[in-house]
Symmetry: C2
Subunit: 518 residues, 2 copies
C-alpha cells in the first residue's frame, strides 16, 4: 500500500498525506508502491435478491449439470471423500456444498511475498494489485511490428513492469518466449521474474512438473520452510469452460495448493462459445466453475491461498470473433465482484482488454471500458493490467506504456476525495473571491505539485506546440517513453549465492530432458 | 426511452424485450431512441456525512464570499426581494436559502419537446439524454485536417446527430459557424436544428436578444402557447467561475426562464485557474455556483425547468494546460451526481472529453474515463457526448463517430443484467453440458442477433484479415463510417408553412441589423 493514507472518501481526513501524494503523482522508476488500497466504495450493481438469484442459478448448474474433472482419478477420489455425487468424471454438488467448503477455510485476504519484502502485496479486502498481461505468443512495437515473442521480449516486459510503479506485480507469462523449448521455458520465465524484478510473480501451470519446478525455484529464492508457510507465488488455473477442469490444470492446481501457494481459479468464458450469450448466464457460470476450483484447493490443503477469477468476453455478431471492452463483460465484472465478496474470497478480474491490433482509439477505449469496471467491481488482483492487444494474442510494447497510465489513473480514482480543510479549501475562496483566479493563491502553491495526476503519455499542450513537435499521436509518444525507460533500467540487487543456486537448478533441470517444441 | 423495458437489474424480468433489444443493437439511421432509462444504480461515492460536509462548504462559500451578478441591476433587485445580503454586485446568502428556493418550485423531471413528438425526451429521474459536443470554433477530419468551422460543418454535425440513434438530442452550438456574422449565426444554427433534425435542441445564449430570437423561432415551430407551457429548448448558462454570473449569461438566463424554457446552470471550473486544485473544493464550488443560478430561474419563473450543470477539469502539472479525462474530474462528477439528487434537480455532466488533438489512443482513453463516470453519476443530460477534441477547441468528425460507439455502449451498460429465465439460460447449460460449445444451441440461436453490442467502428477480426484490409486504425475506419452516413442522409419532414415562416423570420432579423464579426 502507499506509505500514507492519502485521502478519505466521505469523511474529514487527517492531514499529512502530501508526501505520499507527491510520490504517487511523480513516481520514479522502481519506486515502491506495493499495492493500492481502495478507499472508495465498490459499485453495487445487483440487489440482494438479484445476487441470490444468481447464486441459486450457479447451484442449479452444479447440481443438475455438474463439472467434469478429466483424467485425474485422485481429484475424483477427493470429491468422493467430500461427499459429492460422482458419475465417472462428472461430479455434481448439492446446493451450498462448495460454498461451505470454501468458507470453512479459504483466507479472505493473504500476503503474497516478494523477493523484496517492501514489495509484498496484500491480496483481498480493499487491496488492488496490478499485473501486466499474461500469455501472448506475439509482441508488437512500432519499429519491429508484429512478431513471435522471445525470451528477450519476456525479459523486457519484466524490466518495464519493474520500472513502472503502477505495477505492483511482475505477472506471469508476460509473453510466451517461443524461442525456448516448451518444456523448459518456464524455468527461464521464473528466473526472469526473480532476477530482473523484485516484485511478486506467478508460477508456471502448463504441466504439474513445471509447477513443481516453479515451487522449487521459489524455495531457493525464499527458503523452503518460508514457502511452505507463506504465499510466494500465485498461479493462473483456467477452467476449460464450459464446466471442465482438465488434467493439466488439475495437475498444476494440486501442486500449488499442496505447496500452500496461491491458485486463481478462473472460468474462461467467450460468450456464445464457452457459455451462453446472456450476461446473467455468464455470471452464474463463473460462480459455479470458480467455486469448484476454489473448493478443491481447500480440500487439498485447507487454508491455502486462493482467488476467484473471471474472464468473460462478448462476441462480434458480424464475425463470431470474441470482443473485449464491451459493456456486457463490464456488467458481468460488476456482478462478479459482488458475488466474490459474498463468497468471502479475493477476486481477480481485468484489466485493459481489447481486440484491436494496434494501440489506436479502439484499443484505448476498450481497455478503459474494462479497467474502470474492474476497479469499481472491487477486483483485488488485476491480471492483463497492461499490454494486451488482439484479444490476448499480442503483447504490445506501446500498449503497455499507454495502459500503465490508465493504471496510474486508477490509483487516484481509488483514493477518493479528500474532504479535510485542505481538500475543501475554503480559505482559498476567501482569499481569491469572485472573478479572480487561483493560479498564485496560497492553497494552489501548497498543493500544486501533487494536486493532479500526471500521465506519462498524455499531451495536453496547445495545438500549435503539438504541431511544432511533429503531430505525434499517443502511440508514437508511448514509444518514446518506452525507449526512455529501457535506457534507464537497472536490475534490482540479488544475493549472488541465490542467483547461482537458481541458475544451477535451471541448468540441471534443462539437462535432464530433451527439448520439446510442442 | 427505448420502446420496451429490455432488462432488469437484480430482479427477475419480464420477457418480451427482444424486439427492443434488437433495435437497440442494430439501429438504423434515424431510428427513434428517445432517451435512455438508466436501469442500474447510481454509484454512491461519498457517504451521507461526506455529502453534508460538501453542502456545508458550499453554504460557507455562499455566505462568506458570495456570488457576483455583474451589470444587471434587475437581478440584484430580484435577490434583494428574495432576502439575500446585497453589497453592490456581490450577493451573499444565508445557509440553506438557495436550497429552499430551488426545492420549493424547481421540477425534479420535465419533458423537453422535440419537433417530432416521438423524439421528446425526459430530463431528470433515471433518464439519460445524450447530445453532441458544444462550442468548438474548429473542426477536423482526416481529409481536411484542422480548420475553422463553417455553417456547412454545423449542418453536417446536426445531420450526423440526427442519423446516429445513440444521440437523443441535437445539441446546441455543435460547432461555431465562424463564416456567419456573430450577431446572426444563432439564427442559422437554430434553423439547422429545426430543419435538418427533428430531435430536441438548445437555444442561443450569447446575448439576450439572441436568446429571444431562439424563443421566437421555437414559437414558430411549436406554437406560441405551447412554448409558454412546455419546454421546447434547453440552454447552457455557464458561470464565469469563480463565483461570477456575467451580464450576457444573466440576460439569456432571464429570457429563457421567463419563457419557461430550460436553463442549465453550469459552473465552468478549470481546476487551479477558476477554482482551487483540490477535488473537494471543486465539488463544493460547483454546488454553490449552480445553486445561485438555479434559484434565480425559480425566482424569475417558479416551476420553470432547470438543470444543475458541472464542467470540471484538472490541470497539467507540466504546462498548466487544462487536462480532461483524468481521475480527479471523474471523482468530482460522481460526487456532484449525489449532490444533485439530494438537491432534487436534473443533472448535466459529461461526456467524451479529451485534450488530444486527434482521435488517437489518448482521445479514446480520456473520453472513456469521462463518459463512464458520467453515466454512473446519474447524469440526466450529457452534453459533449461526442466529437470533442483539443479541450473543446475542435469538433472532430471521426471523433464523433468513435464517441457515438461509446454512447451506444452506455445504452447497454445502463440497461443492466437480465436475470429472467432467458438471461440465466439454465436450459442451455443442461443442453450443452461440460466441454462442448454453445454456438448452435437453442438459447444461442434465439438470442444471437441481439445478445451483444455491435459497435460501428470496432474491428475484432483476425490479424490476418485486418492486415489484408489495409491495417486500418480506428480513426480511418471511423472516417469510412462517417462518409457512409453522410451518403445516406435524408432530412426529416417539415411542414412547408412552418419552414417558410422560420425562413421569413430569419431573413427579417438578419435584415434588421448590420453584420457584426466580433
Amino acid at each position: 500500500m502507499i506509505d500514507d493514507k492519502i485521502a478519505v472518501t466521505g469523511r474529514r481526513g487527517r492531514g499529512g498525506g502530501r508526501k505520499a501524494r507527491q510520490e504517487q503523482r511523480q513516481p520514479e522508476a522502481t519506486q515502491v508502491i506495493a499495492g493500492l488500497v481502495r478507499n472508495i466504495p465498490t459499485y453495487e450493481l445487483l440487489s440482494e435478491e438479484g445476487l441470490a438469484t444468481v447464486e441459486a442459478a450457479a447451484d442449479t448448474i452444479l447440481k443438475d449439470v455438474g463439472i467434469e474433472f478429466r483424467d485425474d482419478p485422485e481429484v475424483i477420489e477427493i470429491w468422493q471423500q467430500a461427499g459429492a455425487d460422482i458419475d465417472g468424471e462428472r461430479v455434481r454438488f448439492e446446493p451450498g456444498m462448495l460454498r461451505t467448503i470454501i468458507q470453512k477455510s479459504a483466507p479472505k485476504q493473504f500476503t503474497q511475498h516478494a523477493r523484496n519484502p517492501a514489495r509484498n502485496v496484500e491480496i483481498g479486502g480493499n487491496n488492488i494489485v496490478f499485473a501486466p498481461a499474461y500469455g501472448p505468443p506475439f509482441v508488437r512495437d512500432i519499429e519491429g511490428g508484429r512478431r513471435y515473442a522471445s525470451i528477450e521480449d519476456f525479459q523486457n516486459f519484466v524490466k518495464l513492469a519493474y520500472q513502472i510503479p503502477w505495477f505492483h506485480h511482475s505477472g506471469g507469462t508476460v509473453c510466451e518466449p517461443v524461442d525456448i523449448p516448451v518444456n523448459k521455458r518456464h524455468l527461464d520465465m521464473v528466473y526472469a521474474h526473480l532476477r530482473y524484478s523484485d516484485k511478486p510473480f506467478m508460477g508456471s501451470v502448463t504441466a504439474a512438473e513445471r509447477a513443481a519446478d516453479s515451487v522449487e525455484l521459489a524455495k531457493i529464492a525464499f527458503g523452503a520452510d518460508f514457502v511452505d508457510q507463506n504465499c510466494c507465488m500465485i498461479s493462473l488455473i483456467n477452467v476449460n469452460s464450459p464446466l471442465v477442469y482438465d488434467a493439466t490444470m488439475l495437475g498444476a492446481l494440486k501442486v500449488y495448493a499442496r505447496a500452500n501457494q496461491g491458485v486463481i481459479a478462473t472460468p474462461f468464458i467467450l460468450g456464445g462459445a464457452m457459455g451462453p450469450v446472456t450476461i446473467g448466464a455468464s455470471v452464474a457460470q463463473v460462480l459455479a466453475e470458480a467455486m469448484a476450483g476454489l473448493a478443491l484447493t481447500q480440500l487439498i490443503r485447507p487454508g491455502s491461498p486462493c482467488i476467484m477469477g473471471a474472464f468473460v468476453s462478448s462476441m462480434s455478431l458480424r464475425s463470431g470473433a470474441p470482443t473485449f471492452g464491451m459493456p456486457e463483460p463490464a456488467l458481468a465484472y460488476l456482478a462478479i465482484g459482488q458475488l466474490a465478496r459474498r463468497l468471502g474470497v479475493p477476486l481477480r478480474l481485468g484489466g485493459c482488454l481489447t481486440s484491436s491490433k494496434i494501440s489506436d482509439a479502439q484499443a484505448a477505449q476498450e481497455s478503459a471500458h474494462t479497467i474502470m469496471p474492474t476497479v469499481l467491481a472491487g477486483a483485488n488482483f488485476v491480471l492483463h493490467g497492461a499490454g494486451w492487444l488482439e484479444g490476448g494474442l499480442v503483447m504490445g510494447y506501446e500498449k503497455l506504456i499507454l495502459d500503465a497510465d490508465q493504471l496510474g489513473m486508477m490509483h487516484v480514482m481509488a483514493s477518493g476525495i479528500a474532504l479535510d480543510d485542505n481538500g475543501l479549501a475554503l480559505d482559498a475562496f476567501r482569499e481569491v473571491g469572485p472573478g479572480s483566479h487561483f493560479l498564485g493563491c496560497a492553497h494552489t502553491m501548497a498543493n500544486y505539485e501533487t494536486a493532479y495526476f500526471d500521465p506519462a503519455v498524455t499531451d495536453s499542450n496547445s495545438f500549435e506546440q503539438w504541431e511544432e513537435e511533429g503531430e505525434k499521436d499517443a502511440r508514437v509518444r508511448a514509444n518514446a517513453r518506452l525507449r526512455e525507460l529501457q535506457g534507464s533500467y537497472e536490475p534490482p540487487d540479488i544475493d549472488p549465492g541465490i542467483d547461482e543456486a537458481l541458475k544451477d537448478f535451471i541448468a540441471r533441470r534443462k539437462d535432464s530432458m530433451p527439448d520439446a517444441w510442442y
